[in-house]
C-alpha cells in the first residue's frame, strides 16, 4: 500500500520523469552509434522536424536517380522523368513531417510517393478525367483521423492520470515515451518529436494508439 503510494508520487514528480527520460535517451544514442552511415530515416526526420536543407540535399543525392529511373520506366519520356524528380522530391520535402516511422522504411515511403506523383502526372499529360487521383487508388494507410481529438480530451486524461498509472506498463516503450512527453512533460507535439528524434507523423500516430489503448484498458476496468 505504502509502496504503491510512493510509486505514484514519484510518477508525478519531475525526478521520476527525468530518470525515465534519461534511460530512454541512452537507448536511442546507442542505436545511432551502430549506424556509421546516416540512415534514410534519420535524414527524412531531420527534414521533417527542422527543415534541414543539408539532410534534404543528401536525400536528393540518394534518390533522384532512382526516381528518374522509375519515371523512365513508367513514362518512357525523359522530360517527364525529369519533371518527376521535381514533383516527387518537392512532395518529399512537403510531406516529411507526416512520415510515420512505424509504417515502413523511408525508401518505401519515397517509392510510393514517387509512383503516385508519376501516376497523376501521366494522367494529367494524357488529359484523362481527374475524378480519381493516385492517393485514392493507393490510399495512405488510414490513421489520419483524430489528432485534434487527443488535444480536446487532454483535460480528462490528466484527471485520470493516477488511474492510468497502473496500465502504463502495458504500453509499448515507444508509446509510453510519447505519452510521457505530451501529458506529463507538457511538451507540444513539435517539441516532443524533436526531443525523441522521431517524425511528427510517428509521434501523432503513437500518441493516438497509446491513448486508444489506455482508454480500452480503463474501459475494461469499469
Amino acid at each position: 500500500m505504502y509502496r504503491n503510494y510512493a510509486k505514484q508520487e514519484g510518477f508525478n514528480t519531475e525526478v521520476g520523469l527525468t530518470v525515465r527520460l534519461a534511460s530512454m535517451n541512452n537507448s536511442s544514442q546507442s542505436l545511432d552509434a551502430e549506424d556509421t552511415v546516416v540512415s534514410d530515416e534519420s535524414l527524412l526526420i531531420a527534414v521533417g522536424n527542422h527543415q534541414d536543407v543539408n539532410a534534404f540535399n543528401q536525400l536528393f543525392e540518394r534518390f533522384s536517380k532512382k526516381i528518374f529511373a522509375l519515371g523512365m520506366k513508367l513514362t518512357r519520356n525523359e522530360q517527364l522523368a525529369n519533371d518527376l524528380i521535381q514533383e516527387a522530391m518537392l512532395n518529399v520535402w512537403q510531406k516529411a513531417p507526416l512520415y510515420d516511422l512505424d509504417k515502413g522504411s523511408a525508401k518505401g515511403w519515397i517509392f510510393t510517393l514517387s509512383r503516385n506523383r508519376c501516376f497523376d502526372m501521366l494522367r494529367k499529360q494524357k488529359r484523362q478525367p481527374n475524378c480519381v487521383s493516385a492517393d485514392d487508388i493507393w490510399p495512405p494507410e488510414s490513421g489520419g483521423e483524430p489528432t485534434t481529438l487527443v488535444h480536446e480530451d487532454r483535460g480528462g486524461l490528466e484527471v485520470e492520470l493516477s488511474l492510468i498509472e497502473g496500465y502504463f506498463d502495458q504500453l509499448s516503450d515507444p508509446q509510453r515515451a510519447v505519452v510521457e512527453q505530451i501529458y506529463l512533460h507538457d511538451r507540444t507535439h513539435e517539441e516532443a518529436s524533436a526531443y525523441l528524434q522521431i517524425p511528427l507523423g510517428t509521434l501523432k500516430s503513437r500518441l493516438r494508439l497509446a491513448v486508444a489503448k489506455l482508454r480500452s484498458l480503463i474501459g475494461v476496468e469499469d
Partner: protein, 237 residues
Amino acid sequence: MNTDVNMHPSSQLLNQFIQGELATGKSIIVSAHMELCKSCCAKAKELEALAVSSWVDPSIAPQLESPSATDYSSMVASIVQSAQLSSEPVEEVVEVQMDVLDDSIKLPKVLAKAAQQGLNWKQVAGGISEAQLILDDETQCEFIYMAPGSKVPVHTHKGSETTLVLKGSFEDELGEYKASDFIVRDTQHHHQPGSKEGCLCFAVLDSPLKFTQGLARFMNPVNSYTFKKAISKAVTS
C-alpha cells in the same frame, strides 16, 4: 479445372498494380478489390517491399543517367523554399450508397470517387443494365447490374475482362462468383454468365465483348461502336 479463373488478382497483376504499371481502370478495380480483401492487402505489402528493394538496389536497377543539362541545385533551392505540411490534406470523403437487390450497399471508396462523374444507367439486354465510367483511354469501365434470373448472351472477349462482384452473385459454366470475387476472363472463354439471385459488378474491358449466339450477334457492330466512343471521350475530355 481452369487455371485462368482468379477469385483474387494474380501475383503478377498485383505486382503491376504496385509498380504503377496499370492503366487507371485496371488500377481502380484492383484497388477496389483490395479494399474488400485483407489477404490481397497483405500480399501487396510483401510485393511492395520487394519492389522497393529492387528499386534501390544498384545491381538490379539500371543506372540511368539523367540529362546533365538540368540544374539540380536550383531545383533543390526552389523546393526548400516551399512550406511543409503539418497534417495530411483533408480529402473530401465521398460516400456512394447504392440501392441494390432490396439492400443498400456502400461502394468501395475508390469506386465511389470514380462514380462521382455520374452514373448513367442503360438497359442493354433483358434484366441487364450498365453504367459506363470514363477512366482512361485503354479500357471500357462499367458498373453492371444483373436482375435476379437474368442471363447475358453468350460471348467471347477480344481482350480480357476483369470483373469485381460488389453485391449478390453470378454464375457461369466455370463457377459461381460472390461479393469481392475478382474474375479475369480472356479470349479463350466462351461464356454465358447468369445470375439467379441478382448481382452488381464493376467490370473493366480491354476491348469490346463479342457476342457469338443468335440475335445478339447483330449487336456486335454496335458494341464496337460504343467502345470506340468510350475511348474517344476519354481522349478528348
